[in-house]
Symmetry: C2
């Protein structure tokens, strides 16, 4: 079983990826993003992106109803179904699902962010949270019947509400649920880089220990990414391949030694 | 088995409908529209709605790539997943699907419309077509495992491409595939009316012969609706109930004698 994570950057070449996937002999599951598309839709529709600052000084995106609507249009609608269509035209019998559908990705809603408003500390709660479990029965039922699940956000909270979540965390839960041997992540970079400003500093091979050291050095959003990667690497996966989704034959390249391999 | 068609008008009360559906003892399948939502998104995003006039003088909407994108955002994304969410919060284990997913609604693409351009007759082909068959195996598999399919456009053409289609035709195909005994259609009217301008002219009961007579008298878009209804009534269904989706307890009202019943 291969788990394929397709990033949501504007440079990712979806058709190249799907053409490669159609050649795989093992079954696979796709988890995909759509952040560039979401930003484009938000801009065109004049929706506001709410950013709030916590009492302790951290800024983060506040996933209000509008933000979830934009996710539903971009991730669950346009990107998910165009990706399913691309699969179908390449003879992959895809079924597009959000975490809501059949509660396939069950999450836990965040408890809220402490903010200061009018001099008072209050708890503001948005529609975001973390995946906690997978409806493995539904997922394996579909796979056993020859379908390829194509999964994206939102996920489902304890009460059935749609919540935003990190795709990295969803990938981690699905890997555990399916015991996927290989995880391929298609991103807008050659792989993990020693120095983000030096295009020749690609790290071709990385041990789990090396990855843990990289997490310690990282800061900001990269640190969160490295943390998710570390969690994935430690969850019993055989290998994680991080490779360039902007090239020709991106999956084939990744499986045959391109990008960064964590073993 | 009950097949529930929920119209896409702005006045349809989705939460009322879902609250009623949660009380049903029989399994059911939902097919829904989202035309008002689609028009709103098209307007906000400044997408053009292409209308073309055929050589024989008929105007129709031309489903180009933009029109399909709008369908994917409105029907497949926002409306489908908010409806799934509403189901989940009412303990209905819904799975939202377009006709593309697992090729659940297999269609045939229209061959094109003959138009006159620069004095020449040419064939213009858009992304639209008619449903021809249902992936009954996938649909019944989901139902047998306790899931409630929530289905919308687009559907899938012969080559795997997304195409627009009439929900009325999709309902007809699904009714046949599942041999649904009852079809409930929730619309923005009290039911079928003798005179569309007279709110007191509701037709409570209609025979199949009476329906056929109504089709002959109808014109324009209503004629197409009546034609689809006639096809449905003649396909072996036990009863078709057409009732008001704008009221409280719309499904309960329909099942207990409200609206129009065709038997």
């Amino acid at each position: 079983m291969i788990l394929v994570k397709i990033g949501g950057g504007a440079g990712i070449r979806l058709e190249e990826i799907v053409r490669d996937l159609a050649q795989l002999e093992e079954p696979f599951v796709i988890v995909h993003g759509a952040n560039a598309l979401r930003d484009e839709i938000v801009l065109k529709m004049g929706l506001d992106k709410q950013v709030i600052t916590s009492a302790s000084g951290y800024s983060s995106v506040f996933s209000d109803k509008n933000a979830l609507d934009a996710i539903l249009m971009a991730y669950s609608g346009l990107r998910n179904k165009r990706l399913v269509e691309l699969c179908l035209t390449h003879n992959i019998l895809a079924v597009g699902l959000t975490g809501l559908d059949g509660r396939i990705v069950q999450g836990q809603r965040n408890r809220g962010i402490r903010v200061v408003e009018n001099g008072k500390k209050i708890l503001k709660r948005d529609f975001s949270g973390k995946p906690r479990s997978i409806n493995t029965a539904l997922l394996t039922l579909l796979i056993s019947q020859g379908y390829t699940p194509v999964i994206t956000i939102p996920i489902c909270d304890e009460n059935g509400f749609a919540i935003n979540s990190e795709n990295d965390d969803i990938v981690c839960e699905i890997q555990k649920a399916l015991n996927a041997e290989t995880v391929i992540q298609l991103i807008e970079a050659k792989g993990l880089m020693e120095d983000i400003n030096d295009p020749d500093s690609l790290i071709p091979n990385l041990s789990r220990a090396g990855l843990a050291r990289m997490e310690q050095k990282a800061t900001g959003r990269i640190k969160r990414k490295m943390h998710a990667l570390n969690k994935l690497a430690q969850s019993g996966v055989g290998q994680v391949i991080i490779c360039d989704g902007r090239t020709r034959n991106p999956v084939r390249n990744g499986l045959s030694g391109g990008g960064t391999r964590i073993q």
